[in-house]
Symmetry: D2
Subunit: 120 residues, 4 copies
Amino acid sequence: MDERTTISDLKLRVQKFCEDRDWDQFHNAKDLAIGIITESSELLEHFRFKSKEEMEGYFVDGHKREEISEELADVLFFVLRFAQMFNIDITQELIKKIEKNNQRYPVEKCKGANKKYSEL
Amino acid sequence: MDERTTISDLKLRVQKFCEDRDWDQFHNAKDLAIGIITESSELLEHFRFKSKEEMEGYFVDGHKREEISEELADVLFFVLRFAQMFNIDITQELIKKIEKNNQRYPVEKCKGANKKYSEL
Amino acid sequence: MDERTTISDLKLRVQKFCEDRDWDQFHNAKDLAIGIITESSELLEHFRFKSKEEMEGYFVDGHKREEISEELADVLFFVLRFAQMFNIDITQELIKKIEKNNQRYPVEKCKGANKKYSEL
Amino acid sequence: MDERTTISDLKLRVQKFCEDRDWDQFHNAKDLAIGIITESSELLEHFRFKSKEEMEGYFVDGHKREEISEELADVLFFVLRFAQMFNIDITQELIKKIEKNNQRYPVEKCKGANKKYSEL
């Protein structure tokens, strides 16, 4: 469904879910950023102490794959909610950031390298 | 631009940026989840020790607003990259999760309440 | 017991627990840092969307207090394990860092201020 | 210095640093937990996208080792501050937790295994 769904479509769904429950009062910037990081941590926890081989198995095992996809959706939920609450056009921000990183990480210098721009 | 951009559009931009640099080799599940959480932390750090009043000022101050929006875009970058690398339709997952949460958090029980479903 | 227990005492307990289970093989720097952050997130999750008043109640409610203290111990477990695995004298590092912060955050400038040293 | 320094010694140093700056007012449970997780993230970031071999090099390179040790100290700073602010005897909590984990992770079942207790 990713091909036919806009960012605004998803933002609206998230907004409706939260407004139906009258949650604007709890959704200040700090607590939404906490929402993002705590859900990110639940995603990361699946890979703690796991080897490359074990992780590859995760994406063939339907149940594990399901759990991981759900954690990823939880992160996205709060990212969209944050953008919606503070009127951030996240598409515009992402494109701007990719352009900035195009400068910071020029292809000829970064191809196949895992260094940070500050170490290049 | 959120109104006219699909999730797939953004996934493609992120994919192109990474493939141009030959970064698939570094982008396993564990390291991408680390990417998501470390960027989430940079977002959260803006609000550390800050009061409600100070945070509200952030969204009127153009420069601070810019910085925060950029951090949010960094989180989204890795969320989309994770979805793209592991063939996750993130729209479908988000909708599924919202439906699940509609069960877990029935409106009549949750309206105006900040409890977790396990505490309801 | 904090008054009569040294850092080394605690490091040894953590080391014994892990070595009894033959876990050195999983405890590389990246996975231990993941251990620290995922446990930190479990601590933080207790405060997500909670007001100052609700949080103050947590420390009078014996059960909540117990849960929070346990999460804090989980973070410390991995901090000590990291220090032990990589031969870091964490006391020395902490004292060095406090001295550095004494320079970065001079009392006369920082008293009652919640700014980062880079914003002073 | 870990051999001759008690947990209380370190707690007192952290407390003095913060009280000299009148920071009790900012150090509520939520913001201290944010302190712990944001510092954990700075530690973790050193290992993002890095291979086992690169990470091993970090602990022979004096400068990288220094940076990593400093991040670890930053995490410990906030762990101790949290314990001190909320009167948590962290030694007692850690020992209790290790005992609990001795039950959850019996040696005969866990030796050489990287499973969570809930998966055993």
